[in-house]
Amino acid sequence: MKDTRIDRRLFLRGIGGVTAGVAAATALSACGTGTSRTAGGSGSGGKGSKTVVVRDSGGSYGAALQKAIYTPFTQETGISVKVLNLDNAPLLAQIKQGRPQCDLINDAMVSHTKYVKQDALEALDLDRLGSVKSAKIPENQITEYAIGHSFYGQCIAYRTDAFGGKKPESWADFFDAKAFKGGRAMCSPDGDLPELEFALLADGVPMDKLYPLDVDRAFKVLTRLRPDIKKFWDSGPLPGVLLSRQEVTMSTVWDGRIADLQKQGVPVERQLNGMRRQFSGYAIAKGATNADNAYKLMDFALRAESQAALAKAFPSNPSSPVAYAKLTEDERNALAGAPKYYDKGFDADVDWWLKNEAAVTKRWLEWARG
């Protein structure tokens, strides 16, 4: 018994030794890289750290960000970028506990507004973000806590072979299942904000008179189309799948998804009339460990060059008008955000949706379950 105990203790000591050794080695190597690189670092928040953690939504968008923004940023500054894909709720919980895992948050402006309400974001110091001016980012995308870097549009996608040469021109056509036959797909609250605006546009409400939304009227119009809506999509690629498999002839879609479909040879086309625009932006988490680096990355990403580079890698629409000038004409016109399309769409009213999203979502579910 005694022997075994000694053995075990020895064994544990051995293990401890190994663990300590590993830890020491790691610490040493960390120190090594730290000292060799802190030369130019100012590092107030991050103890001279040379990393920054950014939250994005991953997928092909994340890959494009890595290529167009993060890698060039690291090359320029020596600051390495770590990526985190996290939902709003856990992110918020982390910030409220004072230990946010990420420094910079790339998210929808709606989400940022929610974060602000929870006091989860740092107020921005615009003096440290020189590129806001140089990129000529529009006033309405500059808020106290977040700055819009791009937007995505929600518009109509349709099969060109479905209507005998006819082209849907408006939401009224989308909602007209007699003239434009075949199934429809629209988004569910799991995918995006309910598409009440489109129903109202179809019913003749002018684009500049949409908000505040007439919810009753919108649902009345939606009810007319309900029997023809085969599927409520909840993720970006689904409308493309449904269109390519001829499950539906027309769907609402995030504009960036259409180019890929066309490349695959699916006979689809977009109709940008009545497009709903929603902006995404950058904000800095309250209590961020590497706030300095977050400012640097944010400034870098907001540059017109960076926005243009991203637009080449991924069909996102830069918020900077300067960025469009840095694209070729073909590249520019492929984007729903090209200046010439600007009047076709409208910006989603973040404030209205913040107030009404929960109620509308609940009502949507009741409506959809019939």
Binding site: D87, N88, A89, L92, K114, Q118, G183, S188, P189, D190, K230, K231, F232, D234, S235, P237, L238, V241, L242, R245, Q246, E247, E357, A358, T361, K362, L365, E366, A368, R369, G370
Partner: protein
Amino acid sequence: MAALTAPARPRKLLASRRTRVGILYALPVVVYLLVLFVYPIFSTLLLSLKDADGSFTLHWYADALSGVNLSVLFTTLRISAETAVLSLVFGFVLAQAITRLKPILAGLAMLVVVVPHFVSALVRTYGWIIMLGDKGLVNETLTALSIPGAPFQLLYNELGVVIGTTSMMLPYTVLLLYGVMRGVDRRLLAAAASMGAGRVTIFRRVYLPLVAPGLASAGLLSFILSLGYYITPALMGGPNQTMIATLINQQVTKENQWNGAAAQGVILLVLTLAGLLLVKVVSSLGASRRRRNGS
């Protein structure tokens, strides 16, 4: 008295020492369970009973058990039950077939059953659309055979959801039933045959009772797992197939409404426990009935 207690002492000491050592050994597990199991459940429970201003309330439960939430709850139960039944039936047939295959083929068949689990939801959806869509394999075939009524709506309704969830549950039921079936002594079936029992009788009176415990646990497992499912129902169903987990997810990620989500989570947990209890009661009832018949 002293003489009586004296010999008992060392034994008591030994016992208590052994108890202490036992507690020491059990401690990590207890702590683990407390931290990762009991604490979260209790905090969820507390959360579900707290109003926005921190006062006690039951209105999250009232909310969860009324209106559209209640109907979603019933949908969840209905779809879970349908899934449990179907995955049992298909799982039984499949497991039965696999037990008869050669080991290599059995492994291959098992792989085919399990692989969909590792395929991304989108690819899986795409696969199902290719199979079951209006222009899918099944409907094209049926249309080609001029079956009246074709193409049938096999997706975006309850049928679609149950097809999807059943296929997701199959690995569990097949693995579980396969294990139970492998455990059945085939010679018992030979013994029954030697006494004159035909195939149907052997199946009904010997084989089925022997795999019954496996059937019960497989059915319960797929029912309970289905209760918390929402990806497949969302992909393959419509709004009428919304499951309670979808609502919980929506409340947490979209509305940041933890209290209501907690209440629904607690309800889900209670339903799960009720399911377990039900199976326990049914099986013990069955056992006592058999005992009565036996004597």
